[in-house]
């Protein structure tokens, strides 16, 4: 079987904070900056928790106290790098059997600031799940169903 290998999504920004501070804000303070419009909670996002260790949980907490899993922390290496397992499938459901990787690196630049680079990779796994799910989905199923679900969420 030919494996689809989509290019990873790569983004970077430069901030004036040091790598150590940028890392701290990114990880410990994720709930302070995360766009609250992107939440799986029903009551609205209160905060996001990144447990500061390899194997830690990555989840959000709603204002009513409910917790929604997003994935796991695979590597926690302040102030250089953090690696997440993003386990939300194309339907925005947490699926422990599904995994893509989000790697964030923090590189010092000349003026004391930091370049933060984010890479979301293994996107082919969305395709693998689509192949797997096809049999159980109805006429709107397969690739199109998943892609349309995404387009609807993005709308």
């Amino acid at each position: 079987m030919h494996r689809i290998e989509p290019a990873p999504v790569v983004k970077s920004v430069t901030v004036s904070a040091s790598p150590a501070r940028a890392f701290e804000i990114f990880a410990s303070g994720m709930g302070d900056w995360w766009l609250k419009t992107h939440s799986l909670t029903t009551s609205g996002q209160k905060t996001v928790v990144v447990e500061p260790r390899a194997g830690g949980r990555w989840y959000e907490i709603g204002t009513a106290g409910e917790e929604k899993e997003w994935g796991r922390v695979l590597a926690y290496e302040p102030p250089h790098r953090i690696l997440f397992a993003w386990q939300l499938n194309a339907d925005w459901d947490f699926d422990p059997q599904f995994q893509t990787e989000v790697e964030v690196t923090f590189e010092a630049i000349a003026d004391g600031g930091t370049t933060v680079r984010l890479e979301h990779r293994d996107l082919a796994n969305y395709g693998a799940k689509a192949e797997e799910a096809r049999g159980s989905l109805d006429t709107e199923g397969g690739w199109a169903g998943l892609l349309q679900a995404f387009a609807a969420k993005a709308g």
């Binding site: 290019a7 983004k11 920004v13 904070a17 302070d32 766009l35 395709g127 397969g142 690739w143």
Partner: protein
Amino acid sequence: MALADPTRRAIFEKLATGGSSVADVARSLPVSQPAISQHLKVLKEAGLVRDEPEGRRRIYSIDPAGLGPLRQWLDRFWEGQLAAFKAFADSDAAAAAGPAKPEP
């Protein structure tokens, strides 16, 4: 969208199993080669499919840089999140540069 058409969806799903020529696709679907060519053109214009010459044929496959709307969605999603991160980090750094800022 390009995948709303059931024939195009079938063609796309066929390509998801491996690169194929127009003739390959025609063998697996009850659709004429000219019609398949037309559908492939639409998929290519939508950024879902790419083609490469192989001898006298063209081999069509799912565009690895595309993955269609899903990848585009993630691209915009992370763009927005990193912009929010930058706005917060830079305001935090500005505050830290000023007089006595308590650590949160």
